[in-house]
């Protein structure tokens, strides 16, 4: 069981951490506390885990409920399908430029509709594969693949629009 749980832990720790991290305002300490609690819950319930359910979907559900409880206890209304991106790294010119590019992507991502944002976030930021996404979202992997490609296309358009708007502002 321990070996089984270890494999489960290795497969999911990064993705669950990112899921939490983007929903707590990129607060690393808070994310670590919450992820610890989530995996402790999973560890205690691992013996009762139903193998017919995808493990990724199982831990995702635990994480989602845990975050919902956390925000409810603090009387905070947070959209768990939304994410909060903040620039990372604060040293030197190069880092500033990188922050700028990251900010552009983050802003464009916020402008996508909820479903598109969720797909792009799950696939490219949290790091889920289409099969896992299908188990979590409850749609087929093929459908999600097409929908994600479309969402990325819209993200691209959104970035171009954002950059054009910024350039025209600078010219004025």
């Amino acid at each position: 069981v321990k070996r089984d749980f270890e494999r489960f832990y290795r497969e999911n720790i990064d993705r669950i951490y990112r899921y939490v991290f983007f929903r707590v305002g990129s607060n690393r300490e808070l994310a670590e506390d919450l992820v610890s609690e989530i995996f402790l819950k999973a560890f205690n319930a691992f013996h009762s885990y139903d193998p017919s359910v995808s493990r990724s979907a199982w831990i995702y559900r635990i994480a989602h409920n845990h975050l919902a409880n956390y925000f409810r206890d603090r009387k905070q209304e947070v959209d768990l399908d939304g994410i909060v991106l903040t620039a990372v790294g604060e040293r030197g010119e190069e880092t500033m430029l990188r922050q700028e590019a990251a900010r552009t992507v983050a802003t464009a991502l916020q402008q996508l509709d909820k479903d598109d944002r969720r797909l792009v976030t799950m696939k490219y930021l949290e790091g889920y594969g289409y099969e896992d996404m299908a188990a979590i979202v409850g749609k087929s992997a093929g459908t999600l693949k097409v929908a994600t490609h479309r969402a990325v296309k819209r993200l691209k358009e959104s970035i171009i629009k954002f950059q054009e708007g910024r350039n025209s502002k600078l010219q004025n």
Binding site: E6, I13, F39, F43, V88, V105, E126, K156, I159
Partner: protein, 172 residues
């Protein structure tokens, strides 16, 4: 401008200059990496979830590893000594170890040339051993028992000469 630019320059620039999508993937990957848990956190959480087995359970393995290491080291040292020392001859407790190593060495000689080389080496080793025990004719005889008969007589003559040299007071 594109119409007047040679196609090879366009192809080259497409290879060198990053296109929009690759920049977008890069930014998403950077965001993902920035939102990943640290190794220290992952290791600490794993330790918390699956603590090491109790000392009582760990000790036998620790002992087993320690004993195996000692036996291996001791065995290796003993083997090296037995193989290298001319003092280890018939009647010595480590003689069987030496014989075993020499036999293995002989089996690893596949070609005729290698076999001949091994035979010569063994004769040289027997001569050195016999010289070491030159004061005991019985021991010399036992040592040279393993030397091919056609060479044995000449070696015995040589050993006798050496013995006489050792016994005479003018010997160097």
């Amino acid at each position: 401008l594109k119409a007047f630019t040679p196609s090879w320059i366009l192809k080259l620039s497409a290879l060198i200059l990053p296109d929009f999508m690759s920049v977008l993937w890069l930014q998403l990957r950077k965001l993902r990496r920035a939102a990943s848990p640290s190794r220290e956190f992952k290791a600490a959480l794993w330790r918390q979830l699956a603590p090491a087995p109790a000392v009582g359970l760990r000790l036998p393995r620790m002992f087993a590893v320690g004993i195996a290491s000692i036996v291996l080291l001791f065995g290796m040292g003993t083997g090296v000594y037995a193989y290298g020392s001319p003092d280890v001859t018939e009647g010595h407790p480590l003689y069987s170890v030496k014989q075993g190593i020499e036999n293995v060495e002989g089996r690893l000689a596949f070609s005729e040339e290698q076999k001949l080389r091994h035979q010569r080496k063994m004769v040289r080793r027997r001569i050195i051993e016999a010289l070491r025990h030159a004061d005991s004719p019985e021991q010399v005889e036992r040592i040279l028992w393993r030397v091919p008969p056609e060479k044995r007589e000449r070696i015995i003559e040589f050993i006798n000469l050496r013995r006489q040299q050792l016994q005479s007071p003018q010997s160097p």
